[in-house]
């Protein structure tokens, strides 16, 4: 059973539309990003990339590069091998990846050599003169071709196959039987194309080995500074106390800044050897071609249902293209991430999903691009599948969803694929969306337009996410449990510093973390400084990605605050000259029970903690909490897109888009709206513009922003947003996380809307991105059929 809360009056700090504390420095150009850091005597690293997707490295001639004025050194894979750094483990530990090519190149733009020079220009000039002799090999670009094993890509592995792993969950036999017995059955190959997070700030690092202290400081664009410190220690053998990772301001991450990349390792190796700081900042092309891509799932979706539209079974069979290395940063026990959320918001009695992953001659990745480990792929599959089912049943897609939703009273809901959904009221949220957008009127308008031959579509997506990895019994990265942490120190005058194991890349943690602590402690959020990203000072945490920050670190902040409050109660009792049990926390103050006028504030307690602590109590007022969540959280939403399609040009006009999100307790509505606006814009780009394409020779055809399009304000539709609140019953403040919901839920709404518009032409499915050319061709083919 879920409890739903209507939006309430503002509290002390929670739920307040507080302006972001970090924004003044960003909008004044005073953020401090990686490339802003210049250290004395710093050298620069430029990388040499393979033009071939698959080739033996015959010879590397460094001589011309070394002759360039300013070039200090040229490093190759063989050089790194001499130091045991030729290969590093991938994050989930099942594979390894080359740092620089050793023996052969496995994808186009793979890093072959590194040139270190006294200026960035000299390094680039040197890189252009590294003469690499290749012996080209036939590439394998298609994962379906890869599975035939005619060409084995990874001869370094014991098993001579391109097959990486098979994963499955659910009941195969029961699901197959239920599908066979169903009155109505739909099946479609649905491809979620390879795309890329493309953060505006690309990746970079400065490695600074101090030969005198033996300490390596790594300034990195890192979403997970502590995890990176541990990885660097494990790979290099440098004791972890001799490694200091600093992640400065980050201009967007979206999962792209979780993996370890060649530039980080080569810069570190060069600095260790030379004893001089070495900076590496990648170009846009390097970011798009070498660093972690997302998606690339080819999903066969089957749904069975009764004649009246009650779903009976779901089966999804997936081929995953992982590129040259299995470098998806998934939790160890979840090679396909949380794809098991593929039953979505619907009560399937039978479900089964299986996935086979393959190596190809493409860049490695499969990262959680603004989603919780493959939740976006799963949501897209089920939401497209439900739309196809509605079409087959000739049933309204909203009615089909309302008929099959998990009901409010079923929570906590055990899904057939192994999750226990914590809370939700899907009927309420969709009905709110239908009312707000005027669904019935839109359907009438659509009927009138169709009568005139015009193409108008309405698309619904009612997704459920599984986020907040996660409970230590299930979730780890390279063995490190996926808890997170917070440390709060309240200063004598009642201000505080709050440090967390997470790392904001634009999420607004400096504001929202302060609001949580302020709400729990009765302090002014403006006077709580939030610090993240420095492993010397922040408590250990797994970082910010996969919508995990609020479910884990947000909870840790609340719990650390409550620890402080319990300590403060002792001091308050001392100040109030009352027994501790007689002191209560009401309206952000301590007071003696039954004597409401006799109060002390947290500020007064804080001052006393340093000047007049209670006898036999420890001075000071601070606490640390490591939070191990008991379950994931399950944010959900109901999105509706309205589009008009011009059949003569293929142009799709997104006329309206309404997003109703339920992320449980809202910390700051303005921050939530900002997150949703940004995520919807990314979802819009994925639906209509973005794809990392490779040609038959393994050429990456989307290597810069002229080929890989990022929408500007001119293209971006107007977003309408609202919310419902169904608090998580197990999270200390009831929050679920929201940053990734719009990216997860919106692509299906866009595609469903366009397919609905094309329904009169008999078009049922077109794979993303829905470019004008694709839509125009679909219209043309329908016209000539």
């Amino acid at each position: 059973m879920s409890t739903t809360i209507e939006p309430e009056a503002e509290k002390h700090a929670m739920g307040v539309r507080m302006k972001r504390k970090e924004d003044p420095r960003f909008i004044q150009g005073r953020g401090r990003y990686l490339d802003d850091i210049v250290l004395p005597g710093m050298l620069y690293l430029a990388l040499v990339h393979s033009p071939y997707p698959h080739a033996k490295i015959v010879k590397i001639d460094k001589s011309s590069a070394l002759a360039v004025d300013g070039v200090v050194a040229v490093l190759t894979g063989e050089d790194l091998a001499a130091h045991g750094l030729a290969w590093i483990p991938t994050f989930h530990g099942y594979d390894k990846q080359m740092v620089l090519c050793v023996g052969k190149a496995l994808y186009q733009y793979q890093e072959v050599a590194g040139v270190i020079a006294t200026s960035r220009e000299a390094a680039v000039d040197g890189a252009e003169l590294v003469d690499v002799e290749y012996d080209p090999l036939d590439p394998v670009v298609d994962p379906f071709a890869a599975r035939e094993d005619k060409i084995i890509l990874r001869d370094d592995r014991e098993n001579k196959t391109n097959h990486i792993y098979h994963w499955e969950v659910g009941k195969r036999a029961e699901t197959d039987a239920a599908l066979a017995a169903s009155d109505v059955h739909v099946k479609e190959r649905i491809v979620f194309q390879r795309c890329h997070p493309a953060p505006l700030e690309p990746c970079g690092a400065i490695a600074d080995m101090n030969p005198a202290t033996g300490r390596l400081t790594l300034y990195m664009t890192s979403q997970a500074p502590h995890a990176h410190r541990t990885v660097v220690s494990l790979v290099t053998g440098i004791p972890e106390d001799k490694i200091h990772v600093v992640s400065p301001d980050i201009g967007g991450g979206f999962g792209n800044k979780v993996p370890v990349y060649a530039g980080y390792v080569v810069a570190a190796a060069a600095s260790v050897v030379l004893g001089i700081p070495v900076k590496w900042v990648e170009t846009r092309t390097e970011n798009l071609t070498c660093t972690g891509f997302a998606r690339d799932y080819h999903m066969d979706v089957e749904i069975g249902a009764s004649k009246d539209g009650a779903v009976t079974a779901l089966k999804v069979t997936t081929v995953a293209d992982h590129g040259a290395f299995d470098a998806a940063a998934d939790p160890t026990k979840y090679p396909a991430g949380l794809f098991g959320i593929v039953t979505g918001s619907y009560d399937f009695a039978n479900a089964f999903t299986e996935l086979d992953a393959y190596f190809t001659n493409k860049a490695p990745g499969g990262i959680a691009y603004r989603c919780s480990f493959r939740v976006t792929e799963a949501s897209f599959a089920i939401e497209r599948g439900m739309e196809l089912l509605a079409r087959k049943l000739n049933m309204d897609p909203a009615e089909l969803r309302l008929k099959n939703f998990v009901k409010k009273e079923q929570f906590p809901y055990p899904s057939p694929l192994g999750f226990v959904y914590d809370s939700g009221d899907y009927h309420m949220t969709l009905r709110k969306a239908l009312d707000m957008i005027g669904y019935d009127d839109l359907r009438k308008e659509q009927a009138e337009k169709r009568a005139r031959g015009e193409l108008m579509g309405i698309g619904i997506s009612t997704f459920t996410e599984a986020v907040g990895a996660g409970p230590s019994k299930h979730f780890d990265i390279m063995g490190i449990k996926m808890f997170d942490s917070a440390e709060i120190r309240v200063h004598p005058t009642g201000s505080a510093i709050l440090r967390a194991g997470t790392k904001s890349q634009g999420q607004g943690h400096e504001t929202t973390w302060a609001q949580i602590a302020a709400e729990e402690l009765g302090l002014d959020p403006q006077n709580i400084m939030v610090e993240e990203g420095d492993t010397d000072t922040a408590p250990y945490g797994l970082g910010t990605y996969a919508s995990r920050s609020t479910p884990t670190a947000g909870a840790a902040i609340a719990m650390a605050s409550r620890k402080i409050r319990e300590r403060a109660r002792k001091i308050a009792a001392h100040l109030l000259e009352a027994a501790e049990d007689d002191v209560e926390w009401v309206d952000y103050k301590f007071r003696v029970k039954g004597v409401p006028e006799n109060t002390v504030t947290m500020q007064e307690v804080a001052f006393a903690a340093y000047t007049n602590p209670a006898p036999n109590t420890e001075p000071g007022l601070e606490a640390t909490f490591y939070y191990d969540p008991p379950n994931l959280t399950f944010p959900y939403g109901a999105y509706i897109a309205v589009v008009d399609v011009d059949r003569e040009t293929g142009f799709v006009k997104v006329r309206r888009f309404l997003a109703i999100d339920d992320c449980g307790t809202v910390i700051n509505p303005m921050v939530v709206e900002g997150q949703i606006h940004g995520g919807l814009t990314e979802g819009f780009a994925i639906a209509f513009m973005q794809e990392i394409r490779y040609d038959e020779n393994g050429n990456n055809l989307n290597t810069n922003f002229t080929e890989y399009l990022v929408p500007t304000s001119l293209e971006t539709p107007h977003w309408e947003t609202s919310n419902t609140i169904t608090p998580s019953p197990h999270h200390p403040i009831g929050a679920k996380g929201v940053g990734e919901s719009p990216n997860v839920g919106s692509p299906a709404a866009f595609v469903n809307a366009v397919m609905d518009a094309l329904a009169p032409l008999g078009v049922t499915h077109v794979d993303m991105p829905l470019t004008r050319e694709k839509i125009w061709r679909a219209c043309r083919q329908a016209a000539t059929a």
């Binding site: 040499v48 990339h49 033009p51 071939y52 040609d695 020779n697 050429n699 990456n700 810069n704």
Partner: protein, 153 residues
């Protein structure tokens, strides 16, 4: 990205004259457009530095060119490989030589394979540029032979 081209040049010179011309690496190097410098390696091979400007890919490319005359003097193969700025171009071309009335006819066709940033420039731009290079080369062969005095070349 693979691009395929073909064409025909009708040359007012004898077959032996044409055959001798296209067997000469120095003369073929002189027919390629935008060549900054060239160096004959041996009787069938030359290296050339070419100024390239295709979309954002601009600069000097190095090419290694091998002429492969086939026995009988009726067919010549040509392999060009090279590149620059992380891009690679491989061109395999062939020309059939025949005599029609008072002319020698070169029927040529070639396939160019692009890799690296050049391949991402976009087919339409790339196609136009590659076509220009190939057609200009053969057109220059024709022009030089046509302008040569009888018995020369």
């Amino acid at each position: 990205m693979n691009l395929e081209y073909s064409g025909r040049e009708r040359i007012a010179a004898g077959r032996e004259t044409v055959w001798a011309f296209i067997n000469d690496p120095a003369k073929i190097a002189g027919c390629m457009p935008d060549v900054i410098e060239s160096h004959v390696v041996d009787e069938h091979t030359f290296d050339a530095v070419v100024q390239v400007a295709v979309g954002p890919v601009r600069g000097k490319f190095k090419f290694h060119v091998v002429l492969i005359p086939q026995p009988g003097g009726e067919h010549m193969d040509l392999k060009i490989s090279g590149g620059g700025f992380g891009s690679v171009v491989d061109l395999v071309a062939g020309a059939d030589i025949s005599v029609q009335s008072d002319s020698t006819v070169l029927d040529w066709k070639g396939t160019a394979t692009m890799r690296g940033p050049l391949a991402a420039v976009g087919g339409r731009v790339l196609d136009a540029q590659a076509k220009r290079v190939i057609t200009t080369t053969f057109a220059n062969v024709k022009a030089q032979l046509n302008s040569a005095p009888a018995g020369a070349a």
